[in-house]
Structures are given as structure tokens and as C-alpha cells.
Symmetry: C2
Subunit: 427 residues, 2 copies
């Protein structure tokens, strides 16, 4: 861990820099796979599954039988935990439903927004070391609440052609319509273009490695919307002398175990805390299952001592962390001043794990400083707001003359005329 003491304001930018992810070099490889999926559909997906996931699939769709078997294989304990998480996610996300109001801007001119679910959405759940059933809940639950008609999920099977039972169980309870065995670029292509098995969707969600990220970027240029740009996961902990060093250390480590490129930053006003956190990290690290990964990402992590809480807040806003944990005396006041972050965790008993799994908030969040412009996934991500306007005869009589002037001054004569022909009939 790198300890930095009272850095100058001018050094912040460099100090807070993330490693750049350059997917340009993957462009041709990814394009080639995407093109084959677009041209050849299922056949190409099956071939790439054999090539990359080392499994020969006879069909892509997960069957009802496989769902039933999965349900038997998930332990009662895990089912209960999944249900608790699902219920909390559902409760919080249900509160995000949008109710538009009609607004009369001038007599006879009424405008409003109507929220409509995106009809077809695609969720990508990566394979790899962890079966991310929590991400299934985080993506499918808001889609279900939004009212998406078709919720498709793609995830790579293991070498025996199976999908982790907890992924299928979570998919079932959170309202996923259909699950397909496909991973990586081929999964993104299948959902972006549609194949014989996999329906074309209008928006693709979910995490993935750099190939998946590059594929999502490419298809987003023309064919389909995506949730947000991706980068390695990260946490910033903002703490003062009242924070519990064991909690802070555990929070930094929980971020560090994600991957070797994970970012964990402590910003504190307390030299003592900084010291004790270092010791606590050393104490907790050895017993962790993924200590090798955590150790590598900790090498890039930073413990930063600043002079005041205000300086700490300013630094957090400059960094715009995906996750921000605030463990300070007056964390409510501090939280008020945060303007750039994905999800914020308040007080000693709000570890990032709470939001990762079960508090009810979403864990699909903007990384890499994207929190300056993007929100995390919410019900909003699965709807569009269509605007409506109803202008009556009275209304057009009121605003029509102004529209004629505006259109004429933009040299858009036919725009003016569309009003004039109407005003004519009212004379």
C-alpha cells in the first residue's frame, strides 16, 4: 500500500489517476467475432463456445428441466439469502417507479412524460472464478419492476455445458424470461443482432472482461444501447479518527479481492487511523481465500492523509469513486457534500458488501470516474420517458404566432407553415 501524506492540490490529478483500459487493440479481434455472429447466428455462437469455453453445446437455451434441477441443487440457506436480497432490491427499486405529471405550460398546451419499459433487454453475466448470481438479481429485478417484456440472460456454461445453479435460481425468481449458454463477445453479439435462438434486444447490461467491454462498445455505436462504460471496480473510504480500523481494513480488502486491477483508496484526516488500518490489513490479509489477488491490487492502493474533512471531500469528488464509504463522526453532513460517486455507504455498519448484496441498492455502478456523468443501474435504466403534448385550438392560438416567428428566424418555412395552416382555420 502506498502512503501519501498531505499531497499538494496540484498533485491530485496524477495521484488519483486510474490505469487506462485501452480496448482499441482488441478491436479487430472483437469485430471479427461480432461479424461472424451477425452473419451466421447460432452456428457461430456454438463454434466460439467450443473455442473459448471448451464446451460443445447442442443447444443454447437453458431448458425447463435444467431450471428445475438447479432449484434442487441450491441449498436452503443460499435460497433464503437470495430471497432476502431479492426482496430488499425489489423494495428499493420499486420506489423508483416514475409517475409523470401533466403540466399546462400555457392555456391549451399540456405536456407530460410517460414511462415505458424497454421491451427487450439483455443481461450478461460473466463466468470466471465467481458465480455472480448477485448480479443476476441486480440487473433482472429492476428490469422486472420496469415491466420489460423480454428479459434475456446470457452466461457462459462450464466445460460440462452447465450453468451454476444459483445463477439459474436467481434468474428464475427475478423474472428472467430466457437464459442462454453463451459467453464473451459471442454473447454480446447474439443479443445485439439476434440469432435463431437468442432474440435481438434493445439494450445490453452487465459486467465482463476487456473483450466483453470492447464488444459492448462496438455494438453500442449503432445496434443497441448499453448500460454504461466499464472499468475495474473501486472503493474510496473517507474516515476520521472515530473510524474502526478493523472495519476500514476489511472494506479495503473486500474491494482488493475483486481483481488485481481493483482500486482501494483510504482518505483520512487521522494519522493514527492510517497507521492502524495498515496493521489491520496485514493482520486480516493472510487468512483470506483470495489473498494473492488482494495482495496484488493492494500494491496499487493508496492511503492518503489530508488535513481537513473538507479537503477529503474535495478529493473524493475529484476521484468520483464507484463506491464511497464514509466513516466519520458527522457522516450525514459529509454525505451532503458528495457530488461525484456511484453508491455511498454511511457509518460504521454500512460495509460495501451490504450494497453489493442485500441492502437494496444496485451494485452495477459507474467506475473509472464515470460517476461524474453516469448513474448506477436503476429502474430508470430499463425505461424510456416518452414526451407527449396536446395543444388545443386555444393553445395553438396562444403559442402559434411565436412559433411562426421562431421558425421564420431559423429559415424553416415549412415549420412555420404547419402552424399557419392551423391558425388559418381558426380565423
Amino acid at each position: 500500500m502506498n502512503i501519501i501524506t498531505n499531497p499538494e492540490r496540484s498533485a491530485w490529478k496524477e495521484m488519483l489517476k486510474r490505469p487506462t483500459l485501452n480496448t482499441d487493440i482488441l478491436r479487430n479481434t472483437v469485430s471479427e467475432v461480432l461479424n461472424r455472429i451477425r452473419m451466421e447466428g447460432d452456428k457461430a455462437v456454438v463454434e466460439y463456445e467450443e473455442k473459448f469455453d471448451k464446451v460443445r453445446l447442442s443447444s443454447l437455451a437453458v431448458t425447463e428441466k435444467e431450471f428445475a434441477e438447479a432449484e434442487k441443487e441450491v441449498s436452503i440457506e443460499l435460497k433464503a439469502a437470495i430471497m432476502l436480497a431479492y426482496n430488499n432490491i425489489r423494495t428499493f427499486h420499486s420506489s423508483q417507479k416514475f409517475e409523470g405529471k401533466k403540466v399546462t405550460t400555457l392555456p391549451g398546451v399540456t405536456c407530460w412524460q410517460k414511462a415505458v419499459a424497454i421491451e427487450k433487454v439483455g443481461l450478461y453475466i460473466p463466468g470466471g472464478t465467481a458465480p455472480l448470481f448477485s448480479t443476476v438479481l441486480m440487473l433482472a429485478t429492476p428490469a422486472q419492476i420496469a415491466g420489460c417484456k423480454e428479459i434475456v440472460l446470457c452466461t457462459p456454461p462450464d466445460r460440462t455445458g452447465k450453468i451454476h445453479p444459483a445463477i439459474l435460481y436467481a434468474a428464475k425468481i427475478a423474472g428472467v424470461s430466457r437464459v442462454f449458454k453463451a459467453g464473451g463477445v459471442q454473447a454480446i453479439g447474439a443479443m445485439a443482432y439476434g440469432t435463431e435462438s437468442v432474440p435481438k434486444v434493445y439494450k445490453i447490461f452487465g459486467p465482463g472482461n476487456q473483450y466483453v467491454t470492447a464488444a459492448k462498445q462496438q455494438v453500442s455505436l449503432r445496434d443497441v444501447a448499453i448500460d454504461m462504460p466499464a472499468g475495474p471496480s473501486e472503493v474510496a473510504v473517507l474516515a476520521d479518527e472515530t473510524a474502526n480500523p478493523a472495519f476500514v481494513a476489511a472494506d479495503l480488502l473486500s474491494q482488493a479481492e475483486h481483481g488485481t486491477d481493483s482500486q482501494a483508496i483510504l482518505i483520512t484526516t487521522s494519522q493514527d487511523l492510517l497507521q492502524s488500518v495498515t496493521e489491520e490489513v496485514d493482520r486480516q490479509l493472510p487468512s483470506l481465500f483470495r489473498k494473492n489477488i488482494a495482495e496484488k491490487s493492494l500494491a496499487n492502493s493508496k492511503l492518503i492523509l489530508v488535513k481537513t474533512i473538507d479537503e477529503a471531500i474535495e478529493m473524493v469528488n475529484e476521484y468520483a469513486p464507484e463506491h464511497l464509504i464514509i466513516e466519520t463522526k458527522d457522516y450525514v453532513n459529509v454525505a451532503e457534500k458528495i457530488v461525484n460517486a456511484g453508491s455511498v455507504f454511511l457509518g460504521a455498519y454500512s460495509p460495501e458488501s451490504a450494497g453489493d448484496y442485500a441492502s437494496g441498492t444496485n451494485h452495477t455502478l459507474p467506475t473509472n470516474g464515470y460517476a461524474k456523468a453516469y448513474s448506477g443501474v436503476s429502474v430508470d435504466s430499463f425505461i424510456r420517458k416518452i414526451t407527449y403534448q396536446e395543444v388545443t385550438a386555444e393553445g395553438i392560438a396562444t403559442i402559434g404566432p411565436a412559433i411562426e416567428v421562431l421558425a421564420a428566424n431559423e429559415y424553416l418555412d415549412a415549420h412555420k407553415n404547419a402552424v399557419s395552416v392551423r391558425l388559418e382555420t381558426l380565423k
Copy 2:
């Protein structure tokens, strides 16, 4: 205009296809300009302004003096019209402000969303044949309502180095912080990376030609968010026998005059209306200022006769038009069934021009079928929703054990530990 009678369902996809905009071929040209802007800042902007806009600029920023002169040059009539439009846009967009509610998902677990404005946004207003001061209002007003601290606007100057006075006037009243003389790719680059004069922004909004579109796409891959992907403007008119053919014709023409690639489609259940609209178009066209443009885009436009209103609705939802005008007897019922559109205009006295200028709705809308996944610009486009959670000791005691199970099953041991160290202290 192409008249199509009772097309088969299987022919819809081909029939409703838009011309594809392929910006791939512009990629290298655009990259080169962007790279120079990134490396050389103002110097490169000034050079490209000389090359592309044929003007030698001594400085990029519009001065207070220029604003003051512009205000004098705008006629009283146009000022009044701009104010009317601004007030309506402001009234409607003010109703979109987000108020989060706190949700207790379980005792001791509270979650909420806080809306925060994107701190720095960039608006691009193209030059060309029309001075798009209406677009200035449409982009700056919601930014102002959202509370964006820095609202930057770039627009190309004319050959004397001047910006159209109505653009400056609209920028001033709608709260734009600073206006810069820069157009095309160099403007997008300047706002994406920042130069000595132009501040770096976090999100870029606004229309533009294919170079601007390609530049926005490129910078959106890593450096900055953008409003939405772009395509030619389009309207669908859904009308039955009660519609006024002169109104429908005027609406189709107002779309057709935008550009030769504009799309105008009439979908109707009435053969008579279709016939009269054709005649009305022929009658209205010759006197239009931009008749040459309108004529060319009309050549690609379609008048489609269908059997029932339900079929018409289904076709509209398949097409997902940017603008939809509904002129039918029971337009309220029809509107209820629309699920894919940008902005909808209801009844005989709601021409698209109303929303383009002054009803209060936004005119920056998803084209090219993107309405299936994207909304138009609104206050939402200028904010992020940060999620917060506060978990108390009671709360972690309730959800902690479930989080431990979930984390363990995803093999994320440190995530589990961040809860365990807290539960330990509560024993």
C-alpha cells in the same frame, strides 16, 4: 412519395428501414483532428477553424461585448418569441426535478437516491443553413434547471468570426456560462479534452453532421458521456379519416425540409386521406423556401395505407419514430398504446413545430429507431442519481448473516469478512 397499400407484416422490416449512417469511414479523419486537439489545444482549434470554417480567430471565447451587441441586434419580436418558448420549456422541465424518497428495506437498512447535477456539460450547436437558437434553449434550459455549474457552448462562427446574435441571446437567457467559437470535430475535441480556453466537460450534448456524430462516438468510448447516438430527423403521422389533409401535408413537409435525408411517413387507415394528403403536398410544396430540400426527402418518404388503427399502432411501435403525430378521432386511446417513440403530438392542433419550438417539451430526441432504448433529452440527462445507504447496528445484524452466505457462495471471502468483523463487535 411512395404509396404503399396494405403491406404484409413480413414486409414491414424492410419497408421501415432507415438509410444506414456509417461513420466508420470517417474514423481516421476524425481521430486525427481529435488527437491534435488533445495534444495542442487552442492552437489546433484555431487552425482547424481556419481550415474548415474559413475564419482566422484571435480568441475562441465570446466576449461580454459580443453578447451585448448580439442583444441589440435581435429584434423585439424574436426576443418575445424566444422568451415565450424559454418560459414554456422551463415550466415543463422544472416539473421533471427528481425528489428521492428514503426507503427502509428492513429495520435499520435505509436506502435512497440523491439527484446531483453533472458539474460541467458541453453543448454543441451546429452552424450551417439555420441558426439553431431553439436548440440552445432545448439544451441549456434543462442544464440550468438541473443545476449544472458550468454550461459550455461551442458553435462555429461565420466567416467574419461572428456568431448569430439569436444564438448568443438564447444562450444568455438560458444560463450558458461561456460560449466558444468552434465547430465540428474540433469543438467536440475541445470540450472532451479541454484546451487552454475551453474547459473539459463531463457530458456533451447536441446535434451535428456526420463528422460531429463520429467525433461524439469516438470521445464517448473513454473520455466523456454523450446525450445519445444521432441520425437523420424523422416524423410519423398516424391519421384516420377525421384528419385534416392540409395539416398532415404541412407536418410531413415540415419534416422534409430539415434535410435531404429526413424521413416523413404517413400511416393511415383512410384511402381518401392518403389521396388528399398527396394533393395537399403538391399544393403546399411550391411556395416553400426550402422546397428543393423537401422535394428530395419526399422522394424517400412513404404514405402507407393499413387496414386498422391497431395495425397502424403496431407499425408505429415497430418503426419507433423520433416524432409521432396522432391525428385520429380517439387519439387519447391510440396514444396509450404507443410504446416506442421520442415525442408524441396529439390531435389536430399539435404540429411537430409546436414541440420543436415552444410547447415546452424537448426537441432533442432519439432518431433512427433508438427510441426503442433511449429517451429524449430532459432534466434527467443533466443529473446523476447517487444511491445512499445507511445500515445501523440493528440493520447489519438483520441482513449481515445473509450477506455472509451470499459472499461465501460467490467465493468472495473478504466481502464476507467485512460483515463478519462488524457482527463480531455486536456479540
